[in-house]
Structure formats: C-alpha cells, structure tokens
Symmetry: C2
Subunit: 300 residues, 2 copies
C-alpha cells in the first residue's frame, strides 16, 4: 500500500514501530525495517554512546531505512543530535519539546523529520516549524501522554482538519481493524507501540512482557498528571501513585515518590512491584508471544 508516508520514508508498508524507552533497541528497530515497516530506536533511554552503538548495529542488520525517536528535553540533546547526523540516520522523530529547535538543522543534512503532537494546535505549530510529517498520538497510548487527553478517534480527524501534512496515527493501533480504521480517520500511516514493545525482539524484560499481555481491559491508567501524564499498568507502584494523587499530593511529593530509574526497573529489569510499567490500553489484546514477523503477517 502506497501512502504519503511510504513515499516520504521509502518504506513498503505504512506501519511504524514507535520509539519506546527500554524496548526499542537495534534488534526491534531493524526487524521492523526488514519487514518493510519503519523501525525507530528509542533514544530516550540511551546514553549517547549507547545510541551510537545501536545505530551502528542497526545499519549492519538492515539496509532499509530506520530512524531514531528523540525526546527534545533530553539533557544531552546536543550530543545525541550530532551522533545522529554523523551516523547519517535518515529519519528522526522528535517529541516533548519545540520542533523549531532542531528541524531545519536536521533537514539540512538530508534527514526527514516527524514531530509527535497531542492536539491540532501543536500540529499547526509543527507545520510552521517545517517538519516533514506529524505523529498524532492519542490518550490510549502507553507512557508519556498529552495533557488534553484527546483520544486517537477524536484527535486524528481534528489534526487532519487543520493540515495536509503526512500524518501518522498513534495510540491504540493494534489489529488489522484498528490499522484500517486509523487510515479511514484520515491518517496516512500508523505507529504501533505496545504490540511491538511486547514482541520477541523488544529489549523489555520477559516478565514485563508476559505481565502486560495478561492485563485485563481497563488495567492501565493515565497518572502522574501533575508531572508528566503517563499511562502505566496497574501494579503496587502505580497503586502508590494513585493513592498519593487521591490524597492531593503535589508535584514535589509525586517527583519524590517517582524517584529515578523506575521505568528501567519495571520495563528492562522486570521489577513488577517497584517498577513503572509504561504500556498502552491495548496491552492485553495479544495473549500469546509473537515475533515482528508474526505481527506483520497478521496486519497485512
């Protein structure tokens, strides 16, 4: 299937694997790109040298296009961006920050830039900043999320109404039905996070994957809204957060409760008690373990 996005990125299928902390290293990203989609390395959980290693491994594992997802608030953003340019990564997805800062610099090196938005106003601002494509991500997505709480079903038509830029729908895309529905809503492509996060090639811990596959509908919730709204699976840590929030905890108290390294602990180390388990609403929709090839076979 050809769309504006397959043409822009030179890929076979309009399916992108979201860049996700502690899940999307070179194994996952290269497998998705080899399957004809677009794989993204998640720079958000990598030190600059680790990112360089994953980019180099990715280049060895596939000759097809791949990209890097970069949260713009990353402390070592300058080094990250220079590594991406030095290594000739062809595609960058930016999020959590202003698209004005890096878009033209990256584009001057021939890099295509997509920016992640959670409302139509940010979509218009991103277009003014000159991005090549938009990712519109809904409330149902795992991990960090927008404050507007606009769902994929509402957000995609709203963004489509204000811009003709190539548009990627993210949040809740899981099955062939939701993939097709996202295109009907006005998207040119889908970005899938949760299903790939739980695939064999994801670097997430096996305990995390199996826990998430067995979640019941409704067992993820958007929390930590006073810091950064984040969708987490229910576990003892999430319960602590919800209790603190119900009791009126402020930003400082929530930051103290969160501490450092909780996402690594939960996703990468498989600590299901103390860890922060970032995952989307569709987590329990695939009960069995599957590879990237299985997922593409199911979707296409």
């Amino acid at each position: 299937m050809q769309t504006k996005i397959t043409e822009l990125f030179g890929i076979q299928h309009p399916i992108i694997q979201g860049g996700m902390v502690w899940c999307s290293g070179w194994r996952l990203a290269s497998a998705v790109s080899e399957a004809g989609g677009l794989g993204l390395l998640g720079a958000g959980s990598m030190h600059p040298d680790t990112l360089r290693y994953h980019i180099q491994q990715c280049k060895q594992a596939t000759r097809k296009p791949f990209g890097v997802n970069v949260p713009l608030l990353y402390p070592e953003i300058e080094r990250i961006m220079h590594i991406i340019m030095e290594e000739n990564v062809p595609i960058v997805f930016t999020s959590a920050g202003s698209p004005k800062t890096w878009t033209s610099t990256l584009q001057s090196k021939g890099i295509k830039v997509a920016h992640v938005v959670s409302n139509p106003l940010f979509a218009q601002k991103s277009e003014q900043a000159g991005v090549d494509a938009l990712v519109a991500e809904g409330f149902e997505a795992g991990g960090h999320n927008g404050r507007e709480e606009l769902t994929t079903f509402c957000l995609i038509p709203m963004v489509r109404a204000v811009t003709q830029l190539p548009l990627i729908a993210a949040g809740g895309v899981h099955s062939r039905a939701s993939y097709r529905a996202a295109l009907v809503l006005g998207a040119d492509c889908v970005q899938i996070g949760t299903r790939f996060a739980l695939s064999e090639e994801s670097s997430a811990h096996p305990e995390f994957k199996s826990f998430c596959r067995n979640l019941q509908p409704g067992q993820t919730q958007l929390m930590l809204k006073r810091i950064t709204p984040t969708r987490l699976a229910e576990n003892p840590f999430a319960k602590q957060v919800q209790e603190a929030e119900r009791a009126g905890a402020d930003e400082m108290q929530l930051s103290a409760l969160l501490g450092k390294g909780r996402a690594k602990k939960g996703i990468f180390e498989g600590d299901l008690i103390e860890g922060e388990l970032e995952i989307g609403q569709v987590a329990g929709s695939s009960k069995r373990a599957e590879t990237v090839a299985d997922i593409f076979a199911d979707l296409i």
Copy 2:
C-alpha cells in the same frame, strides 16, 4: 446501508441519536427517526409524566421507530418502565445498572433492548442477560462515563472480540470519517451524542450550544471520578471541581460541591458559570449551527 442494527430496529441508516439529559426530547428524537436514523428520548432528566408526554408527542411526530434511554438507577424506574410498556415504545436502551433486571420483562412485551457498556466484561454479562444489542461507549463521550477509561478506538475491537451481538459504537463519532471508522473497527452502527445535542432540534439552551460549539480541542475533561466519572466542558464550575479534586476532596465533599440540578442549570437553563456542562470531546468540531437534516446530509 443495511447492517444487523438497521434490521433489528427497522431503520434506514445505522445512525442512532444518543439519549441525553436535557437535550433529547420529542423534537430531537422524532427528527432523527424521521431522517431515517433512530431517535432516543432521554428519560434520565424526565419525571414519569414528562416522559409519557414526550412519548406521545414523538408518536404524533413520526410513524418511524424511536426509543427511550433509561438509566436503571433512576429512582422511579418502576413507573418509567410501566409507562414505556403501556405506550408501546418499540425500543429501550438501558444504562447504569444491571441488564438482568428489566431485559426479559421488556422483551416479553415485544420491546427490543440494547444495553450500554464501557468494557468487554460488561458486554459478556449483557449478552448473558439476553439483550438484543450492545452500545459500547468510549472515554471521549460526554456526560457519564466508564471507570476503565477505554477509548472508542480500543473498546470497539475489544467488545467485538468477545461477542457477535449487534454492536453500536458511541463516543467521539461526529463526521463521515469517524462514522465509517467505527464500522471498520467492528461496530454495526454508530450512536452520536454531542453533535445532536448541539443541533437546532435539541432542547439544550442556545447559550450552552453556542458555548460548546466554540470549545477548543482539550477543553473537556473527565472529572468527578470518585462519584460518577463525567465529561464536562471547562467552565468556572468545572474548575472548582478540578481544584477540589487536586486538593484530595473525598466523595462527600464532591457530592456537596455538585449539589442537585447542576446539569439542568448548565444544559437546559444555559448557566455557563454555575452549571454542569456535559458534552463530548468533539464538541468544537462543528462551528456552525445545524439541523438534524443538515447532519444527516453531511453523514450520508
């Protein structure tokens, strides 16, 4: 377009107007039924005698099928149900309660029963209770809402995966694109609330309608989660609720703040300061005033 729902209810288009407090009296419901959809009276805001009046007016205004939406926790539920049976209303949508209580009684009078659910487990329980159809309503819907916060985009495939019952998608359906997408996700029909609530034939106050049409994306939020999760437009009353919730207000404090008659005040009397403005995420998606006929012309 013929689907399981058009056959079940004997209607022309798979488009249902949601039963909504203070919006859907006989004028709105009969206009939707006359246009070939299914209009629903919203019994939630009617005294029993008022409901009987609206049923009788509806019968005079259209010979086509129409229905009544009944929240099962309604205090005068016995009287409401007897009026519906006496008046030979052909279709009842039940919500907010167990579908076991009334389904077989209504069906014994030849009435078709649909029940509103917010997760696939309730869908299975409703099927066991013998309902004829299901409404699966997502997080983006206005007014009272499920605790699971499952979005329409996630919920419809989840419900479709557990039952083959005729399925109506609700929450965020507004345009031709979202109508088509809901069917692709697995629904047999859509239920539209917000767009009809703001139509000319709705009994909501003109000030309420015009305020809602001008909301920006993200200016509705789900709140009052400790009582009944309710999607409200941002206004001074909603701000008070959010501040109380942030400060850790408990159920009793929130109930006291809410008091009685806030929805009537906001929706029916047009008090944009003190009223509870129940409306969905897509409220601002139609900027201009429109009739039921305009809406059908746009959707079909």
